[in-house]
């Protein structure tokens, strides 16, 4: 059975000029695999990720014909059951550790929270938090545990964030542009750590990004989103077989070292794709 099934997911936000649908009928299933969702800003990829966690920001509304996680129907879940699911079985790594960590709480305390909130004793939670910090290759876990977020570098912060989201060993991890705020050199390092942890634990991963190449190098499948719809679904290995002109455009706009690409082609956007 697949871990996550999404059928006809729609997300609307009321605006002054009437409701705006930002996700318009997204379908996919996810097993214990690594799925990438790629698209430009505003394509609805982040909102798709948040809707799966039941965190569509107010006053937005998410509806679906089917939204089930390991056999549980997520659509009719009570707030209490949502909380039980989040932090224990599904979690999310966000873009920038500068904003996604609470600035006035020591890192260790935040790391223990997914465990203590759901009833793990403090001592046990601390042990596991320290283990997890070691697993994301922190050199001095004890020191990081006591540090405040502003005392960590961006790369360290994001590794702490990953540790925090994996400490409760969830079945599903959503990574929403987890490396976009980091330096290029650190991106690869953080990705490698994330990749290994996900592979070792055999969890499902949804990797949201705008970088098609980056994503295809370590995901199994790629969903390409445009204007709230999935326009193409591909195996990562078959990226060169992409049919949709938007996907081809995304692939083509990368500069290549041995070719003269002057001027760099711009992305075509056809209103028909959105329809």
């Amino acid at each position: 059975m697949s871990l996550l099934e999404v059928e006809n997911l729609r997300i609307t936000f009321p605006t002054r000029t009437g409701p705006a649908e930002v996700v318009r009928g997204v379908n996919f299933t996810l097993g214990h695999e690594r799925l990438a969702i790629v698209g430009e800003s505003g394509s609805g990829k982040s909102q798709t990720g948040r809707a799966i966690l039941g965190l569509t920001p107010q006053p937005g509304q998410a509806t679906a014909d089917r939204l089930s996680f390991d056999g549980t129907d997520l659509r009719s879940l009570s707030a209490r059951n949502w909380r039980r699911l989040r932090g224990t079985r599904m979690s999310m790594v966000m873009q920038d550790p500068k904003f996604s960590l609470n600035p006035v709480m020591p890192v260790g305390k935040q790391l223990m929270e997914p465990l203590t909130t759901h009833g793990t004793p403090k001592r046990e939670a601390k042990r596991r938090a320290l283990e997890m910090l070691e697993a994301v290759q922190m050199r001095d876990p004890e020191r990081v545990f006591r540090a405040y977020p502003h005392e960590l570098s961006g790369g360290m912060g994001q590794r702490a964030m990953i540790a925090m989201m994996l400490v409760s060993e969830p079945d599903l991890l959503i990574a929403d542009e987890p490396t976009s705020a980091l330096d290029v050199t650190i991106q690869i390092e953080v990705l490698r750590i994330l990749d290994r942890l996900v592979a070792d634990r055999g969890m499902g991963l949804i990797f949201i990004s705008h970088d098609l190449r980056l994503v295809s190098s370590f995901c199994d499948r790629v969903l390409v989103m445009y204007a709230g719809r999935v326009v193409e679904e591909l195996n990562a290995a078959d990226l060169h077989k992409a049919q949709h002109p938007y996907t081809q455009g995304l692939l083509n706009c990368l500069p290549q070292i041995d070719e003269d690409r002057h001027p760099l082609p711009t992305l075509d956007r056809d209103a028909a794709w959105a329809g």
Partner: protein, 350 residues
């Protein structure tokens, strides 16, 4: 081992911060003394006349002039005043003929007691109201809280005070009227601290305690309401700002219950600027509200200062101003230190 070093360093940082705050306070206080002194000398009031009266002979006038030290240079006068201030001598009041320090020791506790009860009401009610209104942004409760705040902001305090007295004292007879305590109870306890609620409670004079309470409750609620208006508005805006941050989403992803997200995660951040808001509201109350004190015949600092000013009693005015200035400086220092405790980012590193 490593942990201990970090804790040790944090302790050292805190000491250094405290030292630097104290240094700043010393300089600020010296500036305050100088400005206060200057204001006292430039106001067009002849202190000699208020001592000897306008029928004094020239010889008497000159004698008083020299006795007051007005023949010396301004710097010399400031130095003399300064040394006296540091010896705890603020001079004598022309009006009451008592040392200013004694006068202030008499009137200040009245203001302190009223201000403290008021700020407790303002904080205990204002912060939850602000949080509630932020969490329910745009819903009816938010509008109600904002209207309550707006009324508190704009209604004149003397009018609210008179209406309160009319309704609760005169019509409903629920509370006691103006003053701090009824004469019947005035001698049933010794005013050791001058804070009547504490004096009566520690001396077990519970009847008097009830009477003091029934006197303070209306003016304190009124001043509490005014600070509540400000505190709830600020709390609301700080909380709205914090609740929109990414770390709130992180907490939700972790499955943290909503009450903890609001009162622990967001509040710990909102508390940092709130400390200043509450401290400044308290300082404002400690200044003594002239209007409230007049309406309720409350023998506090505000009334004392107004009286002194109207009678050109410059020593008393200077003394009072100094006390108020010291309160402002002290509360600012206190909120600065609280900042470093609440927010690790403000701890300066060497």
């Amino acid at each position: 081992m490593a942990a201990q070093t970090i804790r040790g360093r944090r302790g050292a940082l805190w000491t250094r911060k405290a030292a630097s705050v104290l240094g700043t306070v010393a300089i600020t206080f010296l500036g305050l003394l100088f400005v206060t002194f200057l204001i006292g000398r430039v106001v067009p009031v002849d202190p000699v006349l208020s001592v000897v009266g306008d029928r004094a002979t020239q010889a008497q006038y000159d004698a008083a002039y020299r006795a007051l030290g007005l023949d010396k240079s301004l710097i010399e006068q400031f130095w003399i005043w300064l040394t006296k201030v540091f010896q705890g001598d603020l001079g004598t009041s022309n009006l009451t003929t008592r040392p200013i320090t004694q006068d202030i020791a008499r009137v200040f506790p009245a203001t302190l007691e009223l201000a403290t009860v008021s700020i407790i009401i303002g904080t205990v009610v204002g912060i939850p109201l602000g949080v509630w209104s932020a969490v329910r942004q745009g819903r009816p409760i938010d509008h109600i809280v904002r209207v309550i705040g707006l009324v508190g902001y704009s209604a004149p305090v003397f009018w609210l005070g008179l209406m309160g007295l009319l309704l609760f004292y005169f019509k409903l007879d629920l509370i006691s009227g103006p003053g701090r305590v009824d004469i019947a109870y005035e001698y049933s306890f010794t005013p050791k601290t001058g804070l009547f609620l504490i004096d009566t409670a520690t001396q077990g004079a519970w009847d008097a305690f009830g009477n003091v309470l029934s006197h303070i409750i209306l003016p304190a609620s009124l001043l509490g309401y005014l600070s509540l208006a400000y505190i709830s508005r600020m709390t609301r805006s700080f909380m709205l700002n914090e609740l929109a941050q990414e770390y709130i989403t992180t907490a939700r992803v972790k499955g943290v219950p909503e009450w903890r997200i609001i009162w622990v995660q967001a509040m710990r951040n909102a508390a940092v600027p709130l400390v200043t808001v509450v401290a400044l509201s308290y300082a404002n109350l400690l200044e003594g509200s002239v209007l409230t004190e007049t309406v309720f015949a409350w023998p506090g600092l505000g009334m004392y200062l107004t009286n002194s000013l109207q009678n050109a009693d410059m020593n008393a005015v200077l003394g009072g101003t100094l006390v108020i200035g010291a309160i402002f400086v002290g509360l600012n220092m206190f909120s600065d230190l609280l900042y470093t405790l609440l927010d690790a980012r403000t701890r300066k590193r060497s």
